[in-house]
Symmetry: C2
Subunit: 225 residues, 2 copies
DNA sequence: TCGACTATTGACTTGTGGTCAATAGGGTCC
DNA sequence: GGACCCTATTGACCACAAGTCAATAGTCGA
């Protein structure tokens, strides 16, 4: 005869007295609280330095309830990450439309830099801290990169010319890497003013575009000859 | 009276018959085998998709033996990562000394690109896949960045002028980010020849240096006036 | 042949992510 | 105001993987 675990155990359980639940919260409120908590916690400690029990204890709820709201520890983590990512992208997306393309780039960079100074820990742990091996996490970070690239180039006079040009795509990824590398370094060692950094990033973008344009022109000229 | 676990259990253990150990290997050979295995495995699957039991099974040894050679799963992982990192840096470091600075940059980039094409999976999982939150892992990756930067600039005519200049340090980090971003993108979507990519990376470096130089010059001129 | 040294084993402990039946609080309907 | 239902909440439990450790089997030199 097989063990038949469940029911027997259940019968035993019934006999035990129960402690009263603590606080009863509305679904959305609880979910928001947990997300907030996760964001705070994961910004400070690494993913697997934080246990679900820790989070539950901090939130003054049982572990089971946490799993009622988020099916997985990773889901909770990703949800928090996604919020951070979206806030950043959205911040960069909201720049006045009535600017010259160059000014739009500068404004976007300004918004970007302002946002990351305000949320340094979250930003760095988003771009560098994540579990890169997890496809979903990688997707979020990757999404930030491509969406930011799109924003920065929105309405640029270069964009229509260069979009689709293979070299351009790679160069753009490169520039995004530049921005990431420089700004993360700048967070750790703020060796210049924010304005100076912004200016540098903008000028590098223009320089990169001109390099790519030049190479493309040279290549087509050579082909033409 | 306290439980007194150990000895009692030990006495019981003695009675059990033992299977014979499989193969007996010299210390260094075993260690090398395990490192090799770890590198292969972690290049293909994520850190926590690979269990110690998996590795032990694959190596046809017991888990305990694995822990005899590497005190921790993470240590094993980091050891493999470190090898990959060192190989890459070393590859870039061995370029002929009798070249012009510009040609040295190109040669370094060539070596870099050749190496990462040959070891794509390892390279990408080194730079993007690691457990970024682990300080030791982060250290390895960070080390690659700074060491590569040093190599690329070795003997450059710009270096003596710009070293220590705050903007320059940040710009260099940025360029390293550019190289990383562009080359990882290129691994996934090889939209151009290796030569073309190398040329682009080199020209971007020169452009970046000129931008930084220009800004620095402008700043000092302004100050001087 | 014996003893020492060490590579090797595998049962065990511990910690943590994840499951699930049971329950308590609170509203609604008669 | 009691019966009933809905759902937020609990806590005991499981599974599995990292890490520990006393015991053991090869091997080599005296």
């Amino acid at each position: 005869m097989p063990p038949r675990r469940g029911p027997i155990v259940a019968a035993v359980r019934k006999a035990l007295p129960r402690a009263k639940p603590r606080v009863r919260l509305d679904n959305d409120a609880r979910r928001a609280q947990l997300l907030q908590l996760a964001r705070r916690t994961f910004a400070g400690r690494a993913y697997d330095e934080v246990s679900i029990d820790d989070l539950a204890r901090e939130a003054k709820i049982s572990k089971g309830l946490l799993y009622h709201y988020f099916p997985t520890k990773r889901d909770l983590y990703v949800a928090g990450l996604r919020e951070i990512a979206d806030e950043l992208v959205e911040r960069v997306a909201t720049i006045p439309a009535a600017l010259t393309p160059q000014e739009r780039v500068r404004a976007g960079l300004e918004a970007y830099l302002e946002h990351i100074t305000l949320h340094q820990r979250a930003f760095v742990s988003l771009m560098r801290g994540g579990i890169g091996s997890d496809p979903e996490v990688a997707g979020v970070v990757e999404g930030v990169r491509t969406r930011l690239a799109d924003r920065f180039l929105d309405g640029s006079p270069f964009a229509p010319v260069l979009r689709g040009e293979p070299r351009f795509e790679t160069a753009l990824r490169g520039w995004i890497g530049f921005v990431e590398g420089a700004s993360i370094d700048w967070c750790a060692h703020p060796r210049m003013t924010r304005d100076a950094l912004r200016e540098m990033l903008a000028q590098v973008l223009f320089a990169v575009l001109s390099v790519v344009g030049g190479i493309a022109a040279a290549a087509s000229a050579e082909k033409g000859t």
